[in-house]
Amino acid sequence: MQNLLQARSASDVGFSVNSSLKFEGGVSIDRATIFDKIYMNAVNRSVKKINELKVDLSSGADSHHELESDAIMTSDDDCKVIDIPKMFNTTVVNGLSINTLQEWRGIVTECYDGYFSADLYDLMHSEGDRQIAEIPLIDVAPSDRGKIAPGVIFHLLVGFVRRPGGNQGRETMIYLRRHKPTASSKTAELADLLDELV
């Protein structure tokens, strides 16, 4: 664990930066391209995902995160070889397992003809700025398209999907945050505060 936290590049943890990683289904990724992006944030991501999981559970979200990267957090102190696939966070959306390369939480800001714009908040990088996205409606599942409206919260993921047959492929996925309304919502609290105005 100590070595892992101190490592700053691919060579620090014992593999060549010029090689590629091969996954089931023939997909290969250049290690040097992805390593820094994935590795340097792996520990932070794990902690964030645990917090995220707590929030999702409390609000009734219908997706779940398998914290495979927990294996990194608890691995042997002397371990120098990282199982790269385990560095991904795995999210299950609509029955598909996705190894996440990048994930944002988004809020729909405006809807236009055939697309919508949204504010995105990076869930993978702790100091990520707000970003802006323009997303075609066709990228949203048909059953969810009618729900896209200003204010709706969704997740945008890019990653490698493991299909039931075992094949993998890089995909972009959008799923809406499910919400279990609670009695003590912020909006009700705001209404109470307005009542207290002098």
Binding site: W104, S117, R130, E134, P150, R178, K186, T187, L194
Partner: protein
């Protein structure tokens, strides 16, 4: 550019924009300021406070803070401004005091997620702050003065909208908002700008018009109501912050014909998202009305955001554009000692003349 504070009797109107959001600081003389709306810098500081601090003005010199309407591009950082400006009159939408709005809040559960509920959080912080101070906000309605002083400078800061019709229509719209079942969302904002607060500042016999985001609607509503009711015989303004980012939906010909002096000094704040404003036809239309037209920033084209190559390729395959907000805030400054004596400074960012707004 070296920043300095305006002279005692000098009028200053500083307009800030980042292609999304606007904020205006107005020096009304005697080292006193009014702030209209708020946008934040990249570091989260309200642009208005940062600027005032940079020219040595302390927040206690801010006399009034107006939030024209509750859209994100006009209120980001507003709670920080309200917190800092302890002596200021805080003017907000009168919709907030109505039972219909409170009922709407109580029946609209908003997801309790950090960093994504800024609208609610911003409003809560402001209301908490005012409650602690034991101060009520000023609720804006047409023909209601926010500030009025009968001294040598004869200051008047007055709301010209929303009118009663706009207000009732807004309450009806609130009642009709349907939250998609089972989907998490933040507090939905009204899609139109019917209750946006248009204001005038009259000081030392001069008048400046701030169009907020008010749009043209129909007889008895929006700009029509302002023309028929609120404006009356006020005279003509010699500065105009163009309504609704220069969009044709904010264009009401009597504004130019009856409310403004010929070749009035004008500025707009572009909207660089989605359909983008102003459009080339809007620029042409406004330039046809006055030779003195400016923009606080350019209409910015999206620049691809940082992401790993594999992520970029996936986004491209899905036709999704992800980009960052620009780093620097556009700031344009107008200073004047007397009518027709304006000095325009492009202080920072990509503020420009309107002819250059597309790059």
């Amino acid at each position: 550019m070296e920043l300095n504070s305006p002279g005692e009797g000098e009028i200053e109107i500083s307009v800030f924009s980042r292609g999304y959001g606007e904020s205006i600081c107005i020096h009304i003389g005697d080292s006193r300021w009014i702030i209209i709306d708020s946008l934040t810098e990249k570091d989260g500081t309200p642009a208005a406070l940062k600027y005032l601090n940079s020219i040595g003005v302390t927040p206690d010199r801010v006399t009034a803070v107006l939030l024209t309407h509750w859209h994100d591009d006009h209120v980001r950082g507003a709670a920080q401004i309200v917190d800092a400006c302890t002596d200021a009159v805080i003017a907000i939408s009168s919709v907030l005091r109505h039972d219909e709005f409170k009922a709407f809040l109580r029946r609209t559960p908003s997801a309790a997620i950090s960093r994504t509920t800024s609208g609610v959080d911003e409003l809560m912080s402001i209301i908490k702050c005012l409650n602690q101070r034991g101060k009520s906000p000023h609720f804006c309605m047409a023909n209601r003065k926010i500030l009025e002083e009968f001294n040598d400078a004869a200051l008047s800061f007055e709301a010209l909208s929303p009118c009663d019709n706009d207000f009732l229509q807004m309450l009806e719209r609130i009642a009709a908002v349907v939250v998609p079942d089972g989907v998490a969302m933040r507090l939905p904002a009204p899609s139109r700008n019917d209750i946006s607060v248009v204001t005038t500042i009259q000081v030392s016999g001069r008048m400046f018009l701030f169009g907020a985001d008010l749009e043209v609607s129909k007889e008895g509503y929006g700009w029509h109501a302002l023309h028929g009711d609120a404006w009356r015989k006020r005279g003509r303004a010699d500065f105009y912050k163009v309504a609704h980012h220069g969009s044709v939906t904010g264009e009401f010909p009597p504004i130019w014909e009856e409310f403004l002096r010929p070749d009035v000094m004008t500025v707009l704040t572009p909207w660089s998202r989605g359909t983008k404003l102003p459009k080339a036809t809007d620029v042409q239309r406004i330039a046809g009305q006055t030779r003195n037209c400016f923009a606080a920033s350019k209409v910015r084209q999206p620049k691809s955001s940082f992401a790993a190559a594999a992520v970029q390729r996936s986004l491209k395959d899905a036709d999704i554009q992800v980009y960052r907000e620009p780093n620097e805030t556009g700031h344009i400054r107008f200073r004047s000692h007397g009518e027709d004596q304006w000095k325009v400074d492009f202080v920072s960012g990509d503020s420009c003349s309107l002819a250059e707004v597309f790059g």
